[in-house]
């Protein structure tokens, strides 16, 4: 088995070797000003993409959110009127529903995915990879196809209704067009996003620790509470956070299963940009959504060490 501390020393011993590398002699004083290490340069292409494709757009959205109503340029005299409009109009309704549905979905996902992750980590053994692929593969099918499939399943004279009608003579009628079915859609769509981090987290629980605890007289529940959960905590935190944030920004579930029973915040954002042609309002709504998501991310990520999460012991 690999010993991390050993790797670390070998890794660092290579660095002075690189410094005395051939060809660098002449340029050394000049190169000295640049961060010379391989990590920095390898991170460069992706960082540039994100700078140009992620941070650029975000800064622009923030700029637009301070522009006067309906303006189509990010340069102008800043104003707070979009935020004032949002507070004065009833946007808190869609914010509230999106938040509530995201919280409920994240909690349900944790409850559903935890036993699944336990099954995959502790029971599947060598076949774990195949099972993981089995659960993850639906991610590779467009979300709207899968949600439309559920709609055909739950709708009036759809699969469920028709099957019940012909089997028992009593149909279920239409089960779409309400808020619980939207939450069901969220749980369905984001299950793989919860499962992956949980599996990573649970692989970090050594069987020895569990065994030692129960040898020392811990009950099953105590082993779960005092050994398994704390060690798997990074996975639990990341999974819950990921599902909360993604559900907060979800829109297709409400469209295809909710059929208008609830308007999520992203639909308001989309309408502001498209039908409303009011980019500053759409931007201001986006900024508020991003702030909520960012608050959750900051609170959770401060407790997580990514290196430890990926390194199997």
């Amino acid at each position: 088995m690999t010993d991390r501390s050993f790797d670390a020393t070998v890794g660092t011993s290579a660095t002075p070797d690189e410094r005395t590398g051939r060809g660098a002699g002449l340029l050394r004083p000049w190169l000295g000003r640049l961060p010379r290490n391989a990590g920095f340069w390898s991170a460069m292409p992706l960082s540039l993409l994100l700078l140009f494709g992620f941070f650029g757009p975000l800064v622009l959205v923030v700029l637009y959110s301070f522009m006067p109503r309906g303006s189509f340029s990010p340069i102008g005299w800043p104003t707070l009127e979009n935020y004032r409009d949002i507070v004065e109009q009833n946007f808190y309704i869609s914010f509230g529903w999106s938040l509530l549905m995201a919280i409920v979905a994240a909690v349900l996902l944790l409850l559903v995915a935890y036993p699944l992750a336990v099954a995959m980590v502790r029971l599947a053994g060598k076949k774990a990879d195949i099972y993981t692929i089995l659960i993850v593969a639906p991610l590779f099918v467009a979300e709207n196809i899968r949600l439309q499939g559920w709609s055909l399943f739950f709708d009036k004279s759809g699969f469920l209704d028709g099957a019940m009608e012909s089997l028992f003579g009593v149909g279920t009628g239409s089960l779409v067009g309400n808020i619980p079915i939207v939450i069901f859609g969220l749980v369905y769509v984001y299950l793989p996003f919860m499962l992956f981090p949980l599996i990573l987290g649970l692989t970090n629980v050594p069987g020895d620790a569990r065994e030692a605890a129960s040898d020392l007289g811990a009950t099953r529940f105590q082993v779960f509470r005092d050994i398994e959960l704390p060690l798997a905590a990074p996975g639990v935190l990341i999974g819950t956070l990921l599902c909360f944030v993604l559900s907060l920004g979800a829109v297709s579930e409400a469209k295809f299963l909710g059929k208008g029973a609830v308007i999520p915040i992203v639909q308001d954002i989309d309408s502001a940009f498209t039908f409303g042609q009011n980019w500053p309002r759409g931007s201001a709504l986006s900024v508020l959504l991003i702030l909520i998501a960012a608050a959750a991310v900051v609170v959770v990520m401060r407790r997580v060490d990514i290196d430890r999460m990926f390194t199997r012991r």
Binding site: T2, V10, G11, T12, S13, D17, A38, G39, F40, S42, A43, P45, L46, S47, L49, L50, G53, F54, P57, L60, V61, S73, L116, A119, M120, I133, L139, F140, V141, A142, N144, I145, L147, Q148, G149, W150, L152, F153, G158, F159, A163, R210, E211, V223, L242, V245, V251, K255, V266, I269, D270, W279, G282, L289, I290, M301, I306, D307, F310, R312
Partner: protein, 274 residues
Amino acid sequence: MSDIHPITRRLLWIFFAAACLLMYLPMLVTALASLSRSRFFIFPVSKYSWKWYEDTLSSLQIEQAAIISLIVAVMVAVISVALAFVGALAYARYDWKGRKSFQYLVMLPIFFPQAVLGLAVQLWLNTLGVPMSWHSTVFGQLVWIAPIATLVIAIQVFAYDPAFEDAARDLGATRWQAMRDITLPLLWPGIFSGFLFSLLLSWSNFPFAYYTSGADVTIPEWLHAKMIGGYTPMVPAVGTLSILVGAVMLCGGFAIAYAAKTIAARRRLATAAR
């Protein structure tokens, strides 16, 4: 022993099997709906037919959308895997000052509502005066997919022992030789998974295509337009075909990975015999 109780074990298996079934149920219903003759889906299906597939396959519009989707997916996969490979080395292999920040940076786009990010990218390209077409969709999807590919490859890199590379360097290999003969072959499974992930995620991606493709239409966009504008059984037909194409990509990927593994094992055996 703290092993799982047999009854719990059985319950877990049942739960797991049920979850797997539920994951695929909507796709099965979609396939069923695509084979129903009638204009609206009514279960039990009274008459089956291939009509909607014939219509789909003879539609130029859908053919065009499929071609665009494929081109975008291949472009995204190639570029994203290139960025993600070096990115994953910075993420998991090298010890450097900005690494922790870089790790969080890479996570950010994944933790971001895709629709909002798609809109933001649209606004950004619009302001910069970039015309919208499938080219801009490639760019938009990369912002979301390249970080995911980086994580996928990073999992492999975390398990990789850099001592091999250092040993090769000590024995006189150049940096390039060490990369080509040691690092790349050892990380190859991760790189391949990253490629496959990117290809499939792009193929099935809707939000970025919706906001950044301008007049070009991808398959998920075509489906969305029809779902909103009025159901026709061509929706499940195109949906089923798109699922099948994804399945072929996935299975093809596994076949290639398996073949490569077998060939490598055989070569190793041959070398050992010599």
